[in-house]
């Protein structure tokens, strides 16, 4: 039989831990918690089986009544632990997602690949169909449209440089705060400023979600926060590396010329 699964309404979860190493560290903690919870569920299951066995063997009303009470308690504990296990598993899945996003953002020093990873995260992990990536131009400090996914609305279609005009984007670029829309003046669903220390490197502007995703969920906020910090540092590192590599190449060419002369 075929099945169709659609994830739009996951259960609420706790806030993401802060800090760059937090996803990996929290992932390890969550895995340990998951193992403990699995052990507790397994113990509860064993207790239920034992209680069932005792009830099955019980002759008189007294002992059997006591065993039934223990069985009811064990069953209640099992249900509670099963619920907690499901919560922990959900948490583990969420941390895995954050870990993979962070890992992949820092897996390359090629600026184009970093941008491509950002696009993959936004499409596949957040579920955005239309989005725009603005990045600062190192020379004139203006913002270039470096990536446009989906059929963006008319405001962005013919734009190569962002010169202002969308209040949500302008505010996010100005103060570095995450913004959610849409508003009367802005079609953006979310504007994620990409910040390294005090520098706003750019912004990710999400304009439309996939049709089967009606709204952002709790996990998306974690991912947007993560993108704000890690995408910016990955872009910054890749740009510095590319610049250094170019300078090195130029120096090597000069040295070769001098040696020939």
């Amino acid at each position: 039989m075929s099945e169709d699964y659609n994830m739009t309404d996951p259960p609420p979860v706790a806030d993401a831990p802060a800090g760059r190493d937090a996803p990996a560290r929290a992932g390890r903690d969550a895995m340990a918690t998951l193992r403990r919870a699995q052990q507790l569920v397994s113990d509860a299951q064993a207790a239920i089986e034992e209680a069932s066995r005792v009830v099955g063997q019980g002759g008189g009303a007294g002992p059997a009544g006591g065993a039934e009470a223990r069985l009811a308690v064990a069953e209640s504990e099992r249900l509670e632990l099963t619920g907690r296990l499901a919560e922990v598993e959900h948490q583990v899945g969420r941390l895995m997602t954050l870990y993979v996003a962070t890992y992949q953002l820092h897996a390359t020093l090629d600026p184009a690949e970093v941008q491509s990873t950002i696009a993959e995260i936004v499409l596949n992990l957040i579920g955005a169909e239309q989005f725009v990536l603005l990045l600062i131009d190192d020379e004139d400090k203006g913002y270039e449209v470096r990536l446009m996914q989906g059929e963006a609305n008319s405001r962005w279609e013919q734009t190569e440089r962002y010169t202002g005009g969308d209040p949500l984007v302008d505010a996010a670029l100005l103060d570095g705060g995450l913004r959610f829309g849409p508003t009367e003046e802005s079609p953006a669903l979310a504007v994620v400023p990409l910040r390294v220390q005090d520098l706003t490197m750019g912004a990710l502007v999400i304009l439309k979600l996939l049709d089967h995703k009606p709204a952002f969920v709790k996990e998306d906020h974690d991912l947007l926060d993560l993108l704000g910090a890690h995408a910016a540092s990955a872009i910054f590192a890749s740009r510095v590396y590319a610049k250094t590599a170019r300078k090195l190449h130029t120096l090597e060419s000069l040295i070769r010329l001098v040696n020939r002369g």
Partner: protein, 129 residues
């Protein structure tokens, strides 16, 4: 409930990010990775003993549905369960994937629990068969 046994799974997906995601989510499963349908057919010809296939739809060179059609017309491969995982979430796309022979269709973005539920059901059916 949500453990994944050490099985061999072919992942056909053009995103490196999602390959990494499966690697983390499905450990300790052995994963064979392909980035398009053509590469996946090549992998299957070398290792036809995969337990199931996780398949994206939109890929270069050969799409997921084209790959699925090839798998289903090959008697040696036709019984391998295929799970489609795609950003295409329209009902007609889901129906098309299931009609083409996929056992399940999971929309991206997805949660680990949802993928593991499908995998567990496939494994249960395989052990019952």
């Amino acid at each position: 409930m949500n453990s994944v046994k050490n099985r061999k799974v072919l992942v056909v997906e053009d995103s490196r990010l999602i390959h990494k995601m499966y690697e983390v989510m499905l450990q300790p499963t052995t994963l064979l990775s392909a980035f398009n349908g053509l590469e996946a057919l090549d992998k299957l010809s070398q290792s036809p003993d995969v337990d199931f296939i996780i398949l994206d739809i939109n890929m270069p060179k050969m799409t997921g549905l084209e790959f699925l059609a090839q798998v289903k017309t090959n008697p040696a491969l036709a019984k391998i369960p295929v799970i489609i995982v795609s950003t295409d979430g329209k009902e007609e796309e889901v129906a098309r994937g299931l009609q083409a022979g996929a056992v399940a269709y999971l929309r991206k973005p997805f949660q680990r629990e949802d993928l593991l539920k499908i995998v567990n059901r496939i494994e249960t059916r395989q052990s019952a068969a």
